[in-house]
């Protein structure tokens, strides 16, 4: 574990140096991202002009959910964006060989090799927005709720990582799919709305089987005052379970790997 932390620190430093070399379109990227998050919130403003609540969710709660979704999304992209988009290339070009010979877990290496730091400049304003929303609508909240919120986001990250990573391993079987990274991306979009308003079939599905409720819905509920300890415990178990499954899938995929080069 310590060794992996040391390696990750080296990855981080290396990414920082790389990032400083290519900073041309950096600000445009930050601004566009923030505008999209803002637009999503404005959209809900217009919808809530017509109705007071949607499936028990008030406008302030939806705003916290939206801020949480974008915050989650940016943290996820910060950690995995570059790495995930390279997996198809690594597998199909045979460059994966080089990684597999290294004395660390291959899954760890290809998932976390690069950090995309520009996302930090989107994460910060989102975090400020979130704090501001909490302050005007939901203050005071207990420390335990804030801690549980952070902890649940972490569980959500692990869950989404595991599913997303598993979809990427499809290229071991199917060969070159240049946009494979968007496959789970389109499923995961459903987490931008409250999972508990999605109806009798999807609601249990999104809570227990494909637990995307842990991206924004459950963390938001916890932060806005409804803490459900059963669900928090379930989140931890689900994260551990799916991470383990993703590891199994990775090992299975490697057995299918035939180096492409030479």
């Amino acid at each position: 574990m310590r060794r992996y932390l040391t390696i990750y620190r080296a990855f981080f430093k290396n990414s920082l140096i790389r990032e400083m070399q290519f900073r041309s379109h950096f600000w445009i990227f930050v601004v566009v991202n923030l505008i999209w998050a803002g637009m999503a919130m404005i959209t809900f403003r217009f919808i809530f002009n017509q109705t007071n609540q949607v499936g028990g969710w008030t406008f302030p709660a939806i705003l916290v959910l939206t801020a949480t979704y974008y915050l989650f999304d940016r943290i996820f992209q910060l950690l995995f964006e570059v790495n995930f988009s390279r997996i198809n290339y690594l597998v199909n070009s045979g460059d994966l060989d080089l990684i597999l010979t290294k004395p660390v877990s291959g899954q760890f290496f290809i998932s976390l090799r690069q950090v995309s730091l520009p996302h930090l400049f989107v994460i910060l304003p989102l975090l400020i927005t979130l704090i501001w929303l909490i302050k005007i609508y939901f203050w005071p909240i207990a420390l335990i709720n804030i801690l549980a919120y952070g902890f649940l986001l972490l569980c959500g990250l692990v869950i989404v990582y595991s599913f997303w990573f598993m979809t990427l391993t499809a290229v071991f079987w199917l060969g070159n799919i240049e946009n494979i990274v968007y496959l789970f991306g389109s499923v995961y979009e459903v987490s931008r709305i409250p999972a508990d308003v999605t109806g009798l079939v999807l609601r249990p599905l999104l809570t227990y089987f494909l637990p995307l409720a842990f991206v924004a819905t459950v963390p938001t509920q916890v932060l806005t005052g409804q803490i459900n300890f059963g669900l928090v415990v379930f989140g931890v178990l689900a994260a551990a379970f799916w991470l383990w499954v993703s590891r199994l899938v990775w090992q299975l995929a490697l057995r299918h790997y035939s180096s492409a080069s030479s």
Partner: protein, 266 residues
């Protein structure tokens, strides 16, 4: 003409070889509207209308929106910008008897055709799932005719202006921000996010002065039968106006672009 036919066949073969890629782009283009449908189902609970739309109309609006954004909305700009950036533009267009627009049009039509084949069963399936909410809906023959006309105008207008966006790579190193800005306007003032009637009055008025709503919201309104004949006629005239504007812009951009273009690399 036969050279374009050949290009078309070549594109189709390419797509058949990369079916999975096509399928994933299709998914990425359609799921956001599905998520909206889920949200509206919850928002309507007991309400008869929101912003002039009944639940049935709202669901149909988003099913239509899926169709329009996956089939009608072209994306010629990315490939074009890449080709300009890596210096292949001159070899591809300037040395061959191909028009930029003709070539991109053929490629886009081939892609749309592929998506159309996936779209039909997808929509049928959704229709089946949602039949409880949308039963009894029908479109008249005349509506269908107008719809096809308006979708064609929407496709061509966007095709021309987005080709210009791609050609802008001749002057700007990065065009990502321009497409992002375009998408934002389309989402908010075009009706991609939600029906324009949900916008505040001032923004609704603003949307009348831009082409976006005529490329998205207007055809969908024809589909839903929310317009009188006079309104349809007026809308089609405005679409035609924007098409003429697009043609003029395209011609200027292409002419100046070819003069300003300098190939980098090989």
């Amino acid at each position: 003409m036969s050279k374009y036919w050949l290009l078309f066949k070549q594109q189709l073969e390419y797509m058949l070889a990369y079916r999975a890629t096509g399928l994933i782009w299709f998914l990425a283009d359609t799921t956001s509207h599905l998520v909206f449908i889920l949200f509206w189902l919850a928002a309507f609970q007991g309400k008869s209308a929101i912003a002039g739309f009944s639940l049935r109309e709202m669901i149909l609006y988003y099913l239509g929106a899926m169709f329009v954004s996956a089939i009608i909305t072209p994306h010629p700009q990315h490939w074009l910008a890449d080709t300009i950036k890596n210096g292949q533009f001159s070899a591809y267009f300037l040395l061959r008897p191909l028009s930029v627009l003709g070539d991109r049009l053929v490629s886009q039509i081939a892609w749309r055709l592929f998506r159309f084949v996936i779209m039909i069963p997808t929509l049928l399936l959704l229709w089946l799932f949602l039949s409880g909410f949308i039963s009894g809906f029908s479109v008249s023959g005349q509506q269908l005719l107008w719809l096809i006309l308006s979708l064609t105008l929407a496709f061509l207008g966007q095709m021309l202006l987005k080709t210009c966006l791609g050609l802008a790579a001749i002057w700007f190193e990065e065009i990502g921000w321009m497409t992002a800005f375009w998408d934002l306007l389309m989402a908010l003032l075009g009706g991609w996010f939600f029906p324009i009637t949900l916008l505040p009055q001032a923004m609704q008025v603003a949307s009348l002065w831009l082409p976006f709503r005529y490329w998205f919201y207007f055809p969908l309104s024809i589909f839903l039968g929310k317009l009188s004949s006079a309104e349809v006629f007026q809308g089609l005239i405005i679409q035609l106006f924007w098409l003429v504007v697009a043609v003029l812009i395209y011609r200027v951009v292409l002419k100046r672009g070819i003069r300003a273009y300098s190939a980098y690399g090989g």
